[in-house]
Amino acid sequence: MARLDEISVADILGEEPGSSNDVKGTRSFVLSYLRQNPEGVNVQMVSKFANISETRARQILGELVAQRELFTRKLAGMRDHIYYPNGKLIHKYLQDSRDFGDQVFRLSFHEGRRTPLLQIQERRFTLMDGEKVEGSIFVELGYVRQVIQFLEDMLTKFDQFEETKRLKEK
C-alpha cells in the first residue's frame, strides 16, 4: 500500500486534475458523446460507445430528452429513433438557478442553429428524490424580451380577472 504522504490529489480523484478524461456519470458521458455527434446517433451506437445495455441507453436518452438536453426524430425508412443534441451551454457564467418555494428554475444560454437560445428549465426539490428536472423550454434570444412582455401581459390579465371576480362577488 502507498504511504499516506505519497498519495497525491490525482490518486484520490483517480485522474489528473483538470484533465479531459474526467470520470463523469454515464449520463454526462452520453451527453458529451451526443454533442460530439450533432448529426445524430441511435440507441445501439450509444450502447456500444458507453458500454451499457441497450435498455439502459434508451433509458438515459429518454431522460435527456425529457430534460431537453436532446431531441429525437423518427426518420422515414429507419427502424429506430435518432437522437440529436440541443445547443450547448455558451459559458458557465451564463447559467443561474433560483428557488421559488418547491420549484427551482434554471436559466441558461445555449448555442442555437441560428441564434442563441435561452433555456428555462423547471426543477423540483423533494426529500425523497432530491432535485429532479421536470422539463424545459427554449426561447430564441431575439424573442426573450417579447416573452417577458407576454408574461407581464398575462399577469395583468389575471389581475383584471381577479378584480372583476371580486366586484361581482360584492
Binding site: A2, R3, L4, V9, L13, V23, L89, R123, L127, G130
Partner: protein, 448 residues
Amino acid sequence: MKRTTLVVEQQVQKQKLGTWTGPDLGLSTKSGYLIPYGKSSEDMEVFLRYSNVLKDGQFVELCGFSIYTMVKRATALEESFPFNDFRSAHPVLVSFPPDVIWLGREKGAEVLNDGIEELLPPGEQGFEPSEVAQIAQTFSELARSSRKTYGFWQGIVQQRFRGVKYSKLLMEYAFAAASRVKAKAMTGIVPVIDPATPGSVSMAHRTNLAYIHHQNDLLEQGASLVPAYLYTIQLNSGMVKPDKWTPRHRRILQNAKAALQLESQTGLDGVHLSVRGIDRISQRRPRVAVLLRFIDGLREICDDAKLPLFWGRSSLAGLGGLDYGVDYASCPINLGGGDVYSDGGPRDELPKFGNLLNVHSRDIWNRDQLVLASEQGELPDLGNVRNMPTDTELENPHDYRLHFSKPYNVAGIRYLAEDWVSHTRGGEIEPGREYLQTFDGFAGWSAH
C-alpha cells in the same frame, strides 16, 4: 472567484460579528453565533417540530452520515412540518464526524453502508442498485477492518469499482448527502489527523484539495445544488496535548492557508474544524491553551481570505471559540461533545433520558437532578418552549428527549448565542470564557 464573503461588522479584539453572504447560494447569515448540531433522525424531528425555537435565518449543522435516516423521518413528517419551510428559514451545514471511519465501530460502519446504499445516485454513475450495495459493503468492510489506522484511506485510493476510484465515490456520496437536504455549506469526509501518523497531515490536506477540484468541476459543469465547501480539519484529541505546540500544528495551518490562497478557489468558501475529545480537553487549561493558539491561527487565515471559520460539535466550549474569532460554533442538542456513533445505547434507564442544559445555574442535569431541583423552583423560562416536562414525559425517555429536553436545549443554545452577541455588541471582551469558567466541566476555559 470565490462564491461567498464574510463581512465583519463589529470586532472586539478577536471576537467578531458579521454577515456571511453568497448571492449564488442564496446565503446571507449573521456570523458570530453558537448554532445547534443534529446527529440523528430524532434530532431532525426536534428541528422540524420545534423550528420556532431556532433563530430565523441561522445555520443548523447536520451529521452527514445520518442524512439518509433524517430524510426518512422528515418525509414522514412532511405534511405537518414541511422540510422546505424549515430549510428556507434555516440554512443547513452538513459535516461528517471522523469517528465513523477512524474507530470503525459496528454502528459507524452500518450508517456508512446504509447511507451510501440510500444516497449514492445510481442514475448518475450508471450503477445498478445491486452494484451500489456492493460499493457500500466495500466501504463499510474497509472501515471495520482498519480501526485506528489509515488502512481505509489507503484502500479507497487503491481500489476501483468499474473504473471509478472508491475515493471518488466517497466524494460523490458526500455531495449527494449534502444535496439531499439542500445544504448551503458542507465539509468533506477527510482523514482525522493523529500525532502518531505524521502522514495524516498531508493526506488530510490532499483530500481537501481533491474536494476543491471536484467542487470546481461540478460548478464548471453547471451542476445545481453545489454547496459551499469548507476546508475540513479534524483533529484527534492527541493533537491537543498540554502546552505542546508542534511543527505539525504549524504545517496544518500552512496547508489551510495555501488552500485558501489557491488562485482558482471557486470551490472553497471557509474552514471547518472539529476536535475529538473536547470534553476532556475543556477540563485542562494547558490543553485549551494549545487549542486556542490553533484556533487563533485559523482565524488569521480566514480573516485574510474574508471567509468564515466553523468549529463543529464544539459543545458549549464553542463559546470560548467565538471569543477567539470562530464565526460559527455548533453544539449538539444532546449536549454531548464526544463521538457521534457508539455501539449500543445505555442499558440503565436514567441515561436514556439524556442531558438538560440549565443556562442560569451553568449546569447540565439528568432527569433525576431536574426532578429534585424542580422542588425548589422551575427551570429558566427561555420562551417558545416548555420549562417543565409533563408527568408522561418523565416516565418515557423518548418523549422526554423529543418533546422536552432537546427542544429546551435548542432554546438554551439560542439563549447563549444571543447572550454572547449582546455582550460583544456591548464591547465586552471574552464573554464566552467568562461564562464557561464557572460551568462544571469547562474549567480549562477560565481566562484567569
